[in-house]
């Protein structure tokens, strides 16, 4: 494998550490140790910690966009495509029980810090919201599509929050099943 650019390694390590420890609690020393570079070398690639946060958010936006496009191509029906979203909860249940949802916990932290990057971070939510709304429109729920998208997002966020608080993966599985039922009933209306 070719040597990955240092800048990308920093962003990848920060992405992971911001998720696991939170933005505020993660220090340059933590990231430096993960990438095996010196603290001083950071400022060749980024001008501040906020700058790294911006890069992490952009990386997540890019990854999310790619994932949504993949789901759009994988599912035959809109219902199957929405099921990809629900399946993501189950697939990531171990990490969710430890660190919560990467989107929800980041937005929550940035809101409390009154950090200006909140408006970039919640763009992650907007990507999911817009994509889900399209699927619900495809299912015939024209007027309620956005409300349904927000509802599903909220349901998944709540599942992640309680799973993390109780450190319980199985709750995710139980509630994901309820979401499946909810989605099925939505398709028969």
């Amino acid at each position: 494998m070719p040597h990955k650019a240092t800048r990308e390694q920093i962003v990848a390590a920060a992405d992971q550490l911001f998720y696991q420890q939170g933005y505020e609690y993660t220090s340059f020393a933590d990231i430096a140790a993960a990438v095996s570079i010196s603290r001083g070398n950071f400022y060749y690639h980024f001008k501040s910690k906020d700058d790294i946060l911006e890069a992490v958010i952009q990386l997540r936006l890019s990854n999310t966009q790619a994932m949504l496009e993949l789901w759009a191509s994988q599912g035959q029906t809109a219902q199957e495509r929405v099921r990809c979203f629900i399946q993501l909860l189950i697939r990531n249940r171990a990490k969710i029980a430890l660190y919560g949802c990467p989107v929800g916990t980041l937005c929550g932290e940035l809101a409390k810090l009154e950090h200006p990057a909140l408006n970039d971070a919640n763009q992650l939510f907007r990507l999911f919201r817009h994509w889900l709304r399209q699927q619900f429109e495809s299912m015939g729920h024209r007027t309620q599509a956005d409300a349904l998208a927000m509802h599903l997002l909220a349901r998944s966020q709540g599942i992640a929050t309680l799973a993390q608080a109780f450190q319980d993966q199985t709750f995710i599985e139980q509630e994901a099943e309820q979401l499946d039922i909810w989605l099925t009933q939505l398709g028969t209306h």
Copy 2:
């Protein structure tokens, strides 16, 4: 016992600041400024910052317990009592849009910090969970009562998370109405 109020003032100020800014981000200087005492005076009343966190959690546990007992005495039926819980979302919608749910955001932060106090903090969730379970049992949902309690908790957490991320109070009102409908349908089964 002169100036006994100081300790309580510290806990009250920390309670508010931990909610608004988060535990990690709130410094002794912040709390000291709110109470108008010196930083050094802190350590007469508490031996560490973790100690203040413990006191804050105990205060919240005590307040929550009192609120649940009040709800238990106010509602004629179990359904009315659960409605008190839903109404709390609406009543606190302005603060929730700014700071999220005080229980969910604290547990989420402590989980990421791997803070030992997480097990005390999520006792707040357990209080609500147990109280809600009792109400659902009262409604005749004997076997599913705990699952219903967890479901309602998750729903409210998700509402708070999205309301905070989008800084949108009206979403809380919309989803609370959905919860009301859900609760009504639950009573007719």
